[in-house]
Amino acid sequence: MLKLFIADLKLQFRNRQSLFWSIAFPLIFTVIFGFFFGSGSMGTGTVAVVNDSTSKMATSMVDAFDKQDAFKVQTATSVDAARDSMKKGKAAGALIIPAHFGDTTPGAPTNVTILYDPGSIQLRAGLDGFVNAYLTEANYRVLKVSPVFGYTDERANASASFTYFDYVLIGLIGMALMNAAIQGVAISMSKYRDDKILKRITTTPLPGWKFLTAEVVSRLIVNLVQITLILWVGIGGFHASIGGNLWALYGLSLVGAILFQLIGFSVAAVAKNTDAAEGMSQAIAIPMMFLAGVFFPIDQLPKWLYSIVQYLPLAPLLRAMRSLALESGAISDNISSLMLVGVWIVVLLLFAIYRFRLTDE
């Protein structure tokens, strides 16, 4: 059986097309989301800074600007250069410090100018906030007073210090597992049946369960590679933070992978040929990719739709994965999600046992 298991691994790693879908495709998604939302990417955009003043205040403002990490900073030589840069899409906003700003001489300018691109609302808000806070602080100093009222900000859920990228990263792991398992199993089993490989296996004394076990386990190995690569790219390349339990994430992922493989076996059981299996598995996987919470929280959907899609197999799985990996949730916090996953596994297992056969008789 070890030989069969090794052969199955070879089959999976030699099949370039399936390797693309199971490994390259989710990694491409990870990188794209990483560039847009990962914290290594300086999230909201680039600001061009024009400093025409030589005053101490202007210099320290630019210094402070350089140190923040809400947006990237680019130095421009003139207002025209900054405008040009924005026109070409290299910067989404500009901070213009006029000549003599901050000088103590009378009549020196006291205002800086912010240029913004109406398309970049997020950047404008960030830039406004930064400049406002800096100038307020400067005003206090000049007036030699300290602020009386203030605020502290705190996240509602103290343990949930995750970003949108972290959220999507877990979604992408779910998506990768789902695509690899549903399509992988459905297509390869149908192809094995079309090519009479399954029948050929039944001519040998090898028990069917051994053949299937080697198939399932070798796919789980591929899943481990998928999860590890996605996490590696997400954390290493784009500073995702998986603050919760990594082992629980792996464990839950494999449970999910088994669930999706069962969907694959069920599809292979009812599909008449490989083409049908491919179509059916896509018809199952693609809606689930968008409606089960890979990219956005599904409670934002209309209520009637949410009341249905929350039961899709991927939805409770992602809920539990995020709770454990991002919010350091405990298993006990996720009983209902885990039970739903369990129910799906039992239902699909029964269906697969009832319908899936290596041969037509």
């Binding site: 030989k3 099949n15 050929r200 001519t203 004394p205």
Partner: protein, 312 residues
């Protein structure tokens, strides 16, 4: 001779449809046994019941002393099976595949030596998709021998091969037989069965219509001799006389080709006398072919044209 397969009153039904109806036969150790018939005649169904792949509806089948109903696993470990069309993984090399299939029987094999026997040693690292049709079939037969089986089942081993590749395969099948193994094959090439098989069974609509040694089947036929010739122009008088001794079949091609099936050995001299004064080409008198026997038994020629997959 020791019997290695015994089929008694075997019937297989799919709902209302009877695929195999009450057939009985035995296969002897060390022979090449052929199952002949059209597509849908029940050959593959019969074979797959013997191999333990399908359940029988009625009757008993014993293979090497094991009952297929109660002990299919013991049978599977002692037989080798080659299925119609290739049935192999796309991304495993020939060597890996032989080793893998051997492991299903709990055996290890010297894949290089096995491939050498079928002249594929240079292809050890190739995938099945990189082989020609003939190479693929040779590999397929070799793959059915990895467990050193006592009986080898070959389902239409030469379908789709060119004449040379087919001859090579016949040679290989004879070699397998000479190693002391029993070979059971299905074919719809009657010429192949005639050349290769020690005994043949002819199936028609799920029933067995004939079973004997190939030569004896021909000798026992209603018309055991065939006279063939090509005539220029019409020869109605001669054909009239010939028809007294047998059946005259005019060829389809412009009516010049004739095949006369003759009933009695004693009439052969008279037939030659009729032919002597005629100016004909390619005159030949020989035993009827298995194909003639087949037509006589089933009332039709076997169709080698576009084949449909044999039913279930």
């Amino acid at each position: 001779m020791e019997e290695v397969i015994r089929v008694e009153n075997l019937t297989k039904r799919y709902g209302e449809f009877t695929a195999v109806h009450n057939i009985s036969f035995a296969v002897k150790k060390g022979e090449i046994f052929g199952l002949l018939g059209e597509n849908g005649a029940g050959k593959t169904t019969t074979l797959e019941i013997i191999e333990g792949l399908r359940k029988l509806t009625a009757g008993t089948v014993t293979v090497l002393g094991h009952d297929v109903k109660t002990d299919p696993t013991s049978i599977k470990s002692k037989i080798g099976v080659q299925l119609q069309s290739s049935a192999y993984f796309s991304y495993l090399t020939l060597k890996e595949m032989l080793e893998l299939f051997a492991s299903f029987y709990g055996k290890t094999v010297d894949a290089a030596a096995l491939l050498h026997q079928v002249r594929l040693e240079e292809k050890a690292g190739a995938y099945v998709t990189q082989l020609s049709g003939g190479q693929r079939q040779r590999f397929s037969i070799m793959a059915s021998l990895v467990n050193n089986p006592e009986i080898v089942f070959l389902d239409e081993p030469t379908t789709g091969l060119d004449p040379l590749a087919r001859r090579n395969l016949w040679e290989l099948i004879r070699t397998v037989r000479d190693q002391g193994k029993t070979v059971v094959l299905t074919t719809h090439y009657l010429e192949e069965a005639e050349i290769l098989c020690d005994r043949v069974a002819i199936m028609e609509k799920g029933e067995m219509v004939a079973l004997d040694k190939t030569g004896r089947l021909i000798a026992k036929a209603e018309f055991p001799y065939a006279l063939t010739f090509e005539a220029q122009g019409d020869i109605p008088a001669a054909l009239e006389k010939l028809s007294r001794y047998g059946q005259v079949h005019a060829g389809e091609k412009a009516g010049h080709h004739y095949r006369v099936l003759i009933k009695k050995e004693g009439d052969l001299g008279k037939v030659i006398d009729i032919m002597r004064p005629l100016k004909v080409e390619g005159l030949a008198l020989r035993p009827a072919s298995l194909e003639d026997v087949f037509i006589q038994l089933t009332g039709k020629a076997i169709d080698n044209g576009d084949r449909e997959e044999e039913r279930a």
